[in-house]
Amino acid sequence: MTCSECQVQIFDGQLDRDAVVHLTACDDCHELDREVRLNASALASMREDVLPVRRARRWPWMVAVAAAALMLVWSNTKPVVVPQPVAVVQPEPVAAALPVPVKPVRVRRARPANPAPPAEPLLVKFFSDDPDVVIYWLVDPVQGEQAL
């Protein structure tokens, strides 16, 4: 077996009998095999490593997810806007014999008797798994929404 053939098996992580025999006789391949095994061990141990903490970056992360979730809820709960009824005022009946020009039909929008009072802003509070972090979300039905 050549060194190249052995190295293919080293990187593949599966050594056959010929490769094992080659390792006992070839210092270069033996050292490469040791190096690749140490790398494999280091890579595998990364799975258990504690990830570095970037606490300050939790805000945009949480706010963005909270905002997306809120948008879903908001779009699902938004009241259906019912169009206002339209009143049509018919012209006075006229005698058929007289050639009177036809008046255009006047269309008048009905006005509600009492306009609705302005809606109260909605305050949504998000609790996170961090007791120090609570997100308040102020939703103004007219102006939009704002994080506090």
Binding site: F11, N39, A44, M46, P52, L72, E120, L123, K125, S128
Partner: protein
């Protein structure tokens, strides 16, 4: 609590998206860890993880099959996009304790730092394959499914990645 106030936990979308919170809780560490290994920097990894979970939220109703595989796939795609967009800087390794350490542990930390830097030099397919296979510990078949390629392709990518990483570590020492 005053009038109009709602008290909602972060699982605000639970009614419309019943599994989002559970999926996020179950997979956020995995997604963050994978993104960190692919990008080399925790801040970039957090941005990527945020994008992954926003995509999950948008695609909850279309999610089909194993969510872990879906999340791995999206994480790899998001990280590849992010990797292409900007120069990736690899974090220096952090240690919580500052106690004296044995030589072999110091050597292991140095090796990990070199491997993290080496990962950034790989082609994105190789990097994704080696992160999923050697760090996440998935099988070659699972990696092939996630990356949408044949198993033989994954094996080839992993061999290439291991060879380049070995060369990188040797060259840096």
């Amino acid at each position: 609590m005053h009038a109009g106030e709602l008290t909602l936990p972060i699982r605000v979308a639970a009614e419309s998206q019943p599994n989002f919170e559970e999926l996020m809780a179950a997979h956020q560490q995995r997604v963050l860890r994978t993104a960190y290994r692919l990008l080399g920097r925790m801040e970039d990894a957090q941005d990527a993880a945020q994008e992954v979970f926003l995509r999950l939220l948008r695609n909850m109703d279309r999610l089909d099959g194993d969510p872990a595989a879906w999340l791995y796939r999206v994480t790899v795609n998001v990280c590849n996009d992010q990797f292409r967009r900007k120069l990736v800087v690899v974090d220096a390794p952090e240690r919580a304790d500052q106690q004296p350490r044995a030589d072999h542990l110091i050597e292991m930390d140095e090796r990990k730092a070199l491997l993290m830097a080496g990962l950034a030099t790989l082609a994105e397919r190789e990097r994704a394959a080696v992160v999923l296979r050697d760090i996440e510990g998935l099988t070659t078949r699972e990696v092939a499914v996630i990356l949408g390629v044949e198993e033989v392709t994954v094996r080839s990518q992993i061999c290439g990645a291991r060879m380049k990483l070995a060369k990188y570590v040797r060259g840096a020492r």
